[in-house]
Symmetry: C2
C-alpha cells in the first residue's frame, strides 16, 4: 500500500528540479513568456505529441534527437514555431546552443502563433536572465500561458510502505485549439521516482486516453501538443501502481483545468456515455457531444435543449436507437427510451442544474457495455472575441 | 442540345403545381408557419433524408408508406416532430386525415424544436386556411423558415431541341444544424418533366454530394434533413442530361443560399482542396476546414491566420506534408511548399480579400489528384446569440 498526498511546488516538488519564468519581450508589456525546467541530474524522458500531421518544429527537433537523456527544457509562448519546416529546427538548434553551460541535450517546446519564424535574438537574450537555482514553478506555469486565464500546476508526494517516497509535479497550459490527440496544450511533468523510461512511456500512453485525450475546448487539434514526463530517479523509490495512480491524478486534474479555463468557457461539463456497443463507440459519441456547437451554445444559454443531445448522438455515427436512448442532466432523466419526461417543471429543474459551473450530461445508449467520459465546456461570446482576432 | 433559362414562381413554375403559406399560430405574432405543395396530378417522388440515426417522425412516416405516388406535401416550421417515436408518426397520420379532399397519399415534413409533440389542433385548424388554387411559392418558402433571414426559392425552364420544354422549381430552408448528410435543412423541388422515379432518384443521389452535402454551417447534422423531388410528368418533355444539369443548378444554388444565410454568417467561403490522395480525402480536408471553429472565427475577425488552415488540414487525418502543402486566399499564395510567403504587405492584401462577402481558400496538398469543394461560413456573435437561447 501507499499514500498519495498533495504537495506544493509544481514541477519543483520533485527532488533536484528547478524552474522559473522570465520576460524576453515576446509578449507585450513585460509579461512572462519564457520558462525553463532544469534538473541537476540527467533525466529519462517519456513523451506524447500531437497527432497533427503539421506537427511543429520543436517536435520535429525532439524526434531527430533519437534516444537521449536531458536535464533542460526551454519553453516559450507567443510563437509556436510551427509550419517553419527544417529551418524552424535549425532555429531551435541555434537558440539551444546559447543555453546555460549546465544544460545537457537541451530540448525546446513552443506555443503561440503558427507560421512565424522564432525571434531568435530575443530568446537568446532572454536566456541570459535565467537563474538555474530558482524553484519558481508557478512563474514557469505563468510564462507558458497564451490565452489561459490562470496558470496550471499541481504536485503530489507518494509515501510507500517501506518508508521511501517519491514526488511528481507538473505545469501545463491550454485554453484554445484544444482537442488533444494531443493540442496547443503543453504539459511538463517531473518526478524523482526511480522509474525506467519504458514504464514511464507505458503509463503515459495508457493514461492519456482518459485524461488529455478526453477533453475538448473547440475540437481543433493543435500543431504543438506536447506532454513530457521527466524523471531523474533521485528518490530511489518506485511502485508501479502508485506511479500510475499519481500520474493519472496529475494528468486528469490538469486536463480538467484546461477545460475549465477553455477560451471563454464558463462551465465544465462531463459527458458520460454508457451502454454503447463498445468503449470506442462510447468515446465517439461522448466526444461528438463535447464538440457540438449546438450543444456548447445551449450550455452557454443554460438552455436544457435535450433534443440537441439526442440529435448529436444520432449524427455521431455510433449504433443508437430512439427507443433505447436515455438522457439525463445530473441525476434528472429527461428522456427515457421513447418517453419524453421533459415538461415545464423539469425544465426549471434542469435550468437550475445548468446554472452550476460543473454538471454531468449522461447518455445511456442501451446497446452494449461500452462507456467513456469526455469533458467539455460551453461556447460563448468570449470565445468568438478571443479567436476572431487572436494574432493581434 | 437544350437551353436552361431562369424562371419565376419557385415550386409553382412547374405546370400543375400549387403552393402557399399560412399562419397556424405555431410561431409568435401571426408569422407564416405552415405550407403546402399540391399537384393536380399524382407525382413520382424521389427523396434524400438525414443520415442521423435519430431521424424524425415525418421521415419514419414516409418510410413506412412504402412505394407510393402523392400530390400533397404538408410542411410546418417551429416543431421538428423529432424524438417523438411512433407516437409522432401517429400524430402525422391523424393530422393528414384532415387534409383537403383532393390530397392523395399526403406526406408531411417538419422543422423546428426537437422533442416536443406536434400541436395537432393548431395544425388541423390551420389547414382550413389552405386555398389549393393559390400559386404563392414565395409565401410557402417563408412559412418553412426557422432562423433563416430570407426565403429561398429558384426555378428554371428547360427548352429542348424538339420544341418541347419542362420546368423545375424549388423552395428550401436552412440556417442552423446544417451539415447535411442530409441536415434541419428542407428542400422541395417540383418538376413537370416526364421523368421516371428511378432516374430522378439516381440524379438526386449523384448531385447531393457536391451540393447539399458539401455545405456546413455548424457541423451539426439534423434529425429532419429532407430533400423531396416531385414530378407530375405534365410537360411530356424530358432529356436526361438537361434534367441533371438543371437539378444541379437548383441544388447548388440553394445549398449556397443556405450557407450565405447560415446562422449569424457574414461570409460565404469556398474551400477548394486539390492534390489530395483521392477525392474522398479532399472532401475530408475541405469539410474539416469548413467545420473548424478556429478557421470560422478567424474569418469572422477577417484575420488571415493561415496557420489555422495548415493546422486544420494536418489534424484532419488525411495524407499531408508541410513540405508539399500550398495555401492561397483567392489567387494570393501565402504558403508554398515549405516557404512562408506571408509578410506584412501580403497580410494587408489578404485582409482586403477577407473583407469580401465571398472568397476562396485553396489548399493544394501536393500528394495526388483528389479534389473537392466545400462551402462554409464564418462564426460570430450572432451565431452564439441565436443558439444560446433557441427554444425561447
Amino acid at each position: 500500500m501507499y499514500n498519495i498526498v498533495y504537495s506544493q511546488g509544481g514541477v519543483c516538488a520533485s527532488d533536484g528540479f528547478f524552474a522559473d519564468g522570465i520576460s524576453a519581450g515576446l509578449k507585450k508589456g513585460n509579461a512572462k513568456d519564457m520558462a525553463f525546467i532544469y534538473s541537476e541530474d540527467l533525466c529519462e524522458v517519456a513523451s506524447v505529441f500531437t497527432t497533427n500531421k503539421m506537427y511543429a518544429a520543436p517536435i520535429r527537433h525532439f524526434r531527430q534527437m533519437g534516444d537521449f537523456k536531458t536535464n533542460f527544457v526551454l519553453i516559450n509562448s507567443k510563437n509556436a514555431n510551427a509550419m517553419t519546416g527544417q529551418a524552424g529546427v535549425e532555429d531551435i538548434k541555434e537558440v539551444l546552443s546559447f543555453c546555460p553551460l549546465q544544460a545537457k541535450n537541451p530540448i525546446m517546446s513552443s506555443t503561440g502563433v503558427i507560421g512565424v519564424r522564432l525571434p531568435k535574438a530575443k530568446i537568446i537574450d532572454g536566456m541570459k536572465l535565467f537563474d538555474l537555482s530558482r524553484r519558481d514553478s508557478a512563474c514557469a506555469a505563468k510564462a507558458i500561458m497564451t490565452t489561459d486565464t490562470f496558470p496550471k500546476e499541481i504536485a503530489f508526494k507518494v509515501e510507500l510502505d517501506d518508508g521511501s517516497s517519491f514526488s511528481m509535479g507538473a505545469i501545463a497550459k491550454g485554453a484554445g485549439m484544444i482537442n488533444p490527440a494531443m493540442a496547443t496544450m503543453l504539459c511538463f511533468i517531473t518526478t524523482d521516482a526511480n522509474v525506467s523510461k519504458s514504464e514511464m512511456q507505458e503509463a503515459l500512453d495508457e493514461i492519456k486516453t482518459t485524461t488529455f485525450n478526453a477533453i475538448s475546448v473547440d475540437g481543433d487539434t493543435s500543431t504543438n501538443d506536447t506532454v513530457l514526463l521527466l524523471s531523474n530517479g533521485r528518490s530511489g523509490a518506485y511502485n508501479k501502481e502508485a506511479f500510475k495512480e499519481v500520474l493519472f491524478k496529475i494528468m486528469h486534474f490538469l486536463a480538467l483545468e484546461m477545460v475549465r479555463d477553455g477560451e471563454g468557457a464558463t462551465k465544465l461539463v462531463t459527458y458520460k456515455v454508457t451502454g454503447a456497443k463498445d468503449d470506442r463507440e462510447a468515446e465517439i459519441a461522448a466526444k461528438a457531444l463535447s464538440d457540438s456547437l449546438l450543444v456548447k451554445t445551449a450550455l452557454f444559454g443554460e438552455d436544457p435543449n435535450w433534443g440537441r443531445i439526442a440529435s448529436t448522438v444520432g449524427a455521431s455515427g455510433v449504433e443508437a436507437y430512439e427507443e433505447k436512448l436515455k438522457i439525463s442532466f445530473d441525476n434528472l432523466c429527461v428522456y427515457d427510451r421513447g418517453e419524453i419526461l421533459f415538461d415545464a417543471e423539469m425544465e426549471k429543474k434542469c435550468a437550475v442544474i445548468m446554472q452550476h459551473q460543473k454538471f454531468t450530461i449522461s447518455c445511456d445508449l442501451g446497446v452494449g457495455e461500452g462507456s467513456f467520459k469526455a469533458y467539455g465546456c460551453d461556447l460563448g461570446h468570449e470565445y468568438v472575441k478571443i479567436n476572431a482576432d487572436y494574432r493581434t
